[in-house]
């Protein structure tokens, strides 16, 4: 009996608390946030995202991809989520997967005012993605195992018998930038010649390893003479003091050049924070951020006329392959299937 008044008080207090809580929740301004999915190495992208958060006050919620899933994890997540997307922005360390996302209707067009000066080849004609600085494919050589006059100069040197097959490595050509490189060779040389080239590599029994990072490590620790990898991986080895040197392949006047791999940024269709996403895209494409990414070691090629210090090589003198990235994308599936047939057995 004596509990009844107390119950009334407790009930009244509860009602007041719930009402106050509801009022506060309804009137409280939702903090501004943006959700970024990125395949760029966390070590490089995280400082940029932190800085954006500090500069704009917009909270960044990031999801990072990993090499162990062959950087296909987030692309598949974006495709699977497209009916109810969580992401606002896709920041990709390469380009082919971004074109795939456009084809899969995951992206929305956005032309950033900060993209001024970026050549047309790196911007989607319909504005679905923007390429903005990147890396290049490179042959990393161990300078203790090779004389300067013996260094390879062409991709075809990988077939030269003067270099022992077990001293040469490439990453599995079915994943990541190596797969894109294969597709680029399909586009440039024609599918038959490119496929024959890789079949010959397989016949030579060169080392095919888990990723570009493994190629870098094998060259750096002297297990092999040289291997095909990316400039960012190579610079990591140089900065750690390994006896290595980068050689850009096929740079002669009649040669095809090496593959340049731009980063790409895109707005996710129907993402929950469109305005914040556009602010982020503008921030990332700004000259200051691109300069910072060069300094961090993620970019080696600003892909536009920018005053940035690049201490490891002269970016202006690197001859890139003349390719259309959409055409490269068109060869990706065929190239991956054929490379699986050739190398996974």
């Amino acid at each position: 009996m004596s509990l009844k008044p107390q119950i009334k008080y407790i009930a009244a207090i509860l009602v007041i608390i719930i009402a106050a809580g509801t009022y506060i929740a309804l009137n409280q301004e939702k903090p501004r946030e943006v959700v970024i999915y990125t395949s760029v190495d966390q070590i490089f992208s995280e400082p940029i995202l932190d800085e954006f958060e500090e500069t704009t006050g917009i909270i960044v919620k990031a999801v990072y991809d990993v090499e162990a899933t062959k950087t296909t994890g987030l692309v598949n997540r974006l495709i699977a989520e497209k009916e109810n997307p969580l992401a606002d922005v896709w920041w990709n360390g390469e380009i082919a997967q971004t074109i795939l996302l456009k084809e899969e209707d995951v992206l929305s067009p956005y032309s950033s005012p900060e993209a001024v000066g970026i050549p047309d080849a790196y911007i989607d004609p319909e504005g679905y993605w923007t390429g903005f600085g990147g890396r290049a494919r490179v042959c990393l050589v161990n300078t203790e195992l090779m004389d300067p006059e013996d260094l390879p100069s062409s991709i075809y040197d990988f077939l030269d018998e003067k270099y022992p097959a077990d001293q040469i490595a490439i990453a599995y050509p079915i994943f990541g930038t190596t797969a894109t490189h294969v597709a680029a060779l399909y586009a440039t040389l024609g599918p038959e010649e490119a496929s024959n080239f890789f079949a010959a590599l397989s016949m030579r029994d060169i080392r095919v390893v888990d990723g570009n990072g493994v190629v870098r490590d094998l060259v750096a620790d002297g297990s092999i003479m040289f291997g095909l990898t990316d400039t960012d991986d190579s610079i990591g080895a140089i900065e750690r003091g390994a006896p290595v040197e980068m050689v850009f392949l096929d740079q002669g006047p009649d040669e095809m050049g090496t593959l340049l791999i731009p980063n790409t940024i895109a707005l996710v269709k129907d993402g929950p924070n469109v305005e914040e996403a556009k602010i982020f895209i503008d921030y990332l494409l700004s000259e200051e951020t691109v300069g910072e990414l060069v300094e961090l070691g993620w970019f080696q090629l600003p892909l536009r006329d920018l005053e940035v210090d690049q201490e490891y090589f002269d970016a202006n003198n690197v001859k890139g392959m003349t390719v259309n990235y959409v055409e490269i994308y068109g060869f990706i599936e065929q190239a991956k299937r054929e490379m699986t047939e050739i190398f996974v057995r």
Partner: protein, 512 residues
């Protein structure tokens, strides 16, 4: 009454297997429109060769782990010498360290060893089959030996002591103890086989091509999960066969009636040759722990590196802890419920085989397809990675608990059912105490696998959150070996904490 039983069953099936059933259904629907899709399930030519080649590695790794478990497990359970008492359960802390990290440590170790061996004109292979075998064996030793130890702990002590009166110890051990402990050892063999046959990360690191790489590369080329589901069918079938085969002996085992055994058979008098191979097997475990932790400590370098690694990953530590703990609780509870179903029909065996056999990224895609579409309020929350690890590893918990429950006298369960005052009383006061070793082992295995999971967690982790394992793999690619080593040590500490809490809470509580 019927409804009361059916509704929870449907709920469990939808919760755990809904995403996978959706994927399988989608694969069948696509097969109607895409001719040739079904052919992927029947490997021929290159794929058949690859599949056959792929079976060698898991077969030998699982047999090695089971043999070491059989020998070392008996020493660790029965021997009371100080050195073995210290590592008795201590080696389990290395269980959640992903195989990929074992690979890093063993690659460096073999390279160093080769520098010494080259003086004598000899060296060990640094790639190919040998390294894959070494790394996988070392990575799955904690699971195999841990389960073997649980098996030995369940052996009926009075029966063994009685037999020892009439026969020499080695014969009692071989003819009575090993057969009684064998269900757990065979379960370990089955798990290790399945975990190795479905993994491509370690073999590809050493340029050893396996069928699971084919499944993943097809997914990478087509971005279509239906292709991977069809390609995975041979692996699903093999998984099912291995599970059934490795647990076939359960029905024939003698049942135990003991409730809570603290004493074990002691003072075995084995011949010296047997004792030597027991010590050799236990030394391999010791080597595994010392090389892994020592390698990580050396690589971390100094306390400053460790401090920075920990500071950068504090939030990730919390996320991993939450996923590990809640995944283990949910997986443990559902595993307990499912273990009672396993004896009732083949369909349940098929259901639990699928999440074990499918690539982890495909499980993640199934979760997104179902939950983002039909339960969007749940999608994007921390519940998703917890569900992901639960779905992936509930089969392991289920089988561990089922294996142990088969060793318990069914009469005790029936008596509890008969005399219980409330529904939960029989469960809490009789059934669970009888199965406490199985539940504790399942819990520890779930924590270890949940903390180390990558493929499906990455696909469903809420934006802004990250697990320690995701961060480790990110640093791994960059080549930040100090950070990787520091974070791995952190995983080991997390594992020690979570398992310690779990064992203390559960076993300590039960003893009271």
């Amino acid at each position: 009454m019927r409804l009361k039983e059916t509704v929870p069953k449907i709920f469990i099936v939808l919760l755990l297997f809904g995403p996978l059933l959706y994927l399988v259904a989608d694969a069948f629907i696509q097969a109607f429109s895409e001719t040739g899709l079904i052919q992927l399930a029947f490997p021929v030519g290159r794929r058949l060769n690859l599949l056959i080649n792929s079976l060698t590695l898991p077969t030998l790794v699982s047999i090695t782990v089971a043999v070491i478990g059989l020998l070392a497990g008996s020493l660790l359970v029965y021997e009371d010498a100080l050195v073995w008492r210290w590592i008795k359960w201590g080696f389990l802390v290395t269980a959640p360290v992903p195989p990929y990290i074992h690979a890093l440590v063993w690659s460096s170790t073999i390279r160093m060893l080769n520098n010494l061996l080259r003086v004598y004109g000899f060296s060990l292979p640094v790639s190919g089959w040998f390294m894959s075998y070494l790394v996988d064996t070392m990575a799955y030793l904690p699971l195999g030996v841990g389960l073997a130890m649980v098996g030995y702990m369940l052996v009926e002590t009075p029966a063994v002591e009685a037999a020892r009166l009439f026969k020499e110890d080695i014969r009692v051990f071989m003819e009575i103890v090993v057969p009684l402990a064998s269900p757990m050892i065979l379960a370990a063999l089955g798990f290790v086989f399945i975990l190795v046959v479905t993994d491509y990360s370690v073999p590809t690191l050493y340029s050893y091509n396996v069928y699971s790489l084919e499944v993943f590369s097809e997914f990478s080329a087509s971005n279509n999960s239906a292709h991977s589901v069809w390609l995975s069918m041979p692996i699903v079938l093999i998984t099912l066969i291995v599970l059934v085969f490795s647990l076939r002996g359960l029905r024939n085992t003698v049942q135990s009636s003991s409730i809570s055994r603290t004493e074990t058979v002691s003072s075995w008098s084995f011949p010296s040759w047997f004792k030597s191979i027991q010590i050799l097997a236990a030394t391999i475990i010791l080597i595994q722990v010392i090389f892994l932790l020592g390698g990580l400590l050396l690589e971390t370098g100094n306390l400053t590196s460790l401090y920075f690694a920990v500071e950068a990953a504090t939030d990730d530590l919390v996320v991993s802890g939450v996923i590990g703990l809640f995944g283990a609780v949910l997986g443990g509870v559902l595993g307990y419920v499912l273990s009672a179903r396993l004896g009732k029909g083949g369909l349940w065996w098929v259901l639990i085989s699928i999440p074990l056999a499918l690539p982890s990224s495909i499980v993640g895609i199934g979760l997104i397809d179902v939950y983002s579409r039909w339960l969007p309020w749940l999608y994007g929350t921390m519940a998703m990675p917890i569900l992901a690890v639960t779905i992936r590893f509930v089969a392991i918990a289920t089988i561990i608990i089922y294996t142990q429950s088969k060793r318990v006298d069914a009469l005790l369960f029936e008596a509890a059912e008969l005399f219980k005052k409330e529904e939960l009383q029989a469960l809490w006061r009789v059934k669970m105490p009888l199965q406490k070793y199985g539940i504790a082992a399942a819990f520890a295995a779930l924590i270890a696998f949940s903390v180390g999971e990558l493929g499906s967690t990455l696909l469903v982790v809420p934006p802004g959150s990250e697990t320690l394992t995701i961060r480790i793999f990110n640093y791994l690619h960059y080549g930040g070996s100090e950070e990787v080593a520091g974070l791995c040590l952190l995983v080991v500490v997390l594992m020690m904490g979570l398992t310690g809490i779990a064992f203390k809470t559960y076993i300590g509580d039960r003893k009271q």
